[in-house]
Symmetry: C2
Subunit: 219 residues, 2 copies
């Protein structure tokens, strides 16, 4: 009879796969996807380079898998809060606060997920990730409008603004110095969330004195 894969082996294979994914995830969390070189992943996972390719067809696929796992966790946390049975604005505040706090405490990972230079395959995953954020935020805003808690507004655009404001204020050149966030930066997080919520309340579609700035576009 031909060779037949036994349970012991299946288990070891699964272990290896997990080990590789974990090694990759750890490297990504340390230095981003770029820093997770196949040789390093293999060493950290305790296997040979070639072995990686028995589990994943390419670096891109490995990284995608890592991205999916990590981002799924983040999305679930936020989606969980968004689905609670409470007033929309309360949920929104908590979602934003959680988003920001987690980004701070996992800054390097947040950078990898949201901002790091990556190639096409990962960009696709990132797009999904960011779209989900947008949908969660927009959904809560829709709820709040439906509840009558806030004035109607273009919730998609507002959600996009929020999605950009929070990471930018926490990661990258405009963020506070990293050491200022070492305690989780609750103060900063609160300020940012406050900014976003204030924008939501700021008064529906009403446009005040129309600016004439849009003519200055060419130059």
């Amino acid at each position: 009879m031909a060779y037949r894969r036994t349970d012991t082996v299946s288990a070891r294979l699964a272990d290896n796969r997990r080990g590789i994914l974990n090694a990759a995830r750890e490297l990504v969390a340390q230095g981003g996807f770029g820093a997770a070189q196949m040789t390093d992943v293999a060493r950290r996972a305790g296997v040979a380079t070639g072995t990686l390719y028995r589990y994943f067809p390419s670096k891109e696929e490995l990284c995608r898998q890592v991205f999916r796992e990590v981002s799924a966790r983040e999305m679930n946390v936020l989606a969980g809060i968004a689905a609670e049975d409470r007033p929309a604005l309360d949920r929104l505040r908590d979602v934003l606060t959680t988003f920001a706090s987690r980004a701070v405490s996992g800054r390097r990972l947040a950078y990898a997920l949201l901002a790091e230079p990556v190639d096409d395959g990962l960009t696709e995953e990132r797009t999904r990730f960011r779209r989900v954020h947008g949908e969660i935020f927009a959904g809560l805003l829709d709820d709040a409008v439906a509840e009558g808690t806030i004035a109607p507004l273009n919730t998609k655009i507002a959600a996009a603004c929020i999605s950009g404001a929070i990471p930018t204020a926490l990661i990258g050149p405009l963020a506070p110095q990293s050491h200022e966030l070492d305690d989780g930066g609750p103060k900063v997080v609160d300020e940012i969330v406050h900014f976003c919520l204030a924008a939501i309340h700021g008064g529906g579609t009403g446009h005040k004195t129309k600016a004439k700035a849009e003519q200055r576009v060419s130059a």
Copy 2:
């Protein structure tokens, strides 16, 4: 007597340099810095690959130069408006509107400047670029606070939020479909600017019922 560079030659050299920079800029505006490969730049500029290196020591330097030229123009436009002699909030609205409108009409270039994956040298330039944005916005907010037009707030954080909100809402996965912006997207621009200004008015440092969400960080 030794060789002496003549005016004709100097002029041709300057022309070549400009030609190379222009070719590079055009390629960047089409496909970002990554797409501007040295071979392509050379072809487009009508010179040989090696010639590029008689004008610029490396691709990095060439790209930096392009980045500086392009970003300087943008920063000057905004700084000019910011320096006008008008109420701070008027200037702020015009600055934001201009920033957003220009980002829309030069979407691909804006992407290269603000969001495209680039390597270290360019990241440095980008950091400067974004810091200047932050300073311009924060300065206007400071002015508005000084004028008493808005309640005191952490202007640096607010500026960072604005710097993130506008590009995110206009470029990338959360932006409206590109064709929706083909007319310059004045409607969308207005909504985004409105969002930011509303946040500014939204009420100083006042923190409402403190969220308990910050405990959800680990998981």
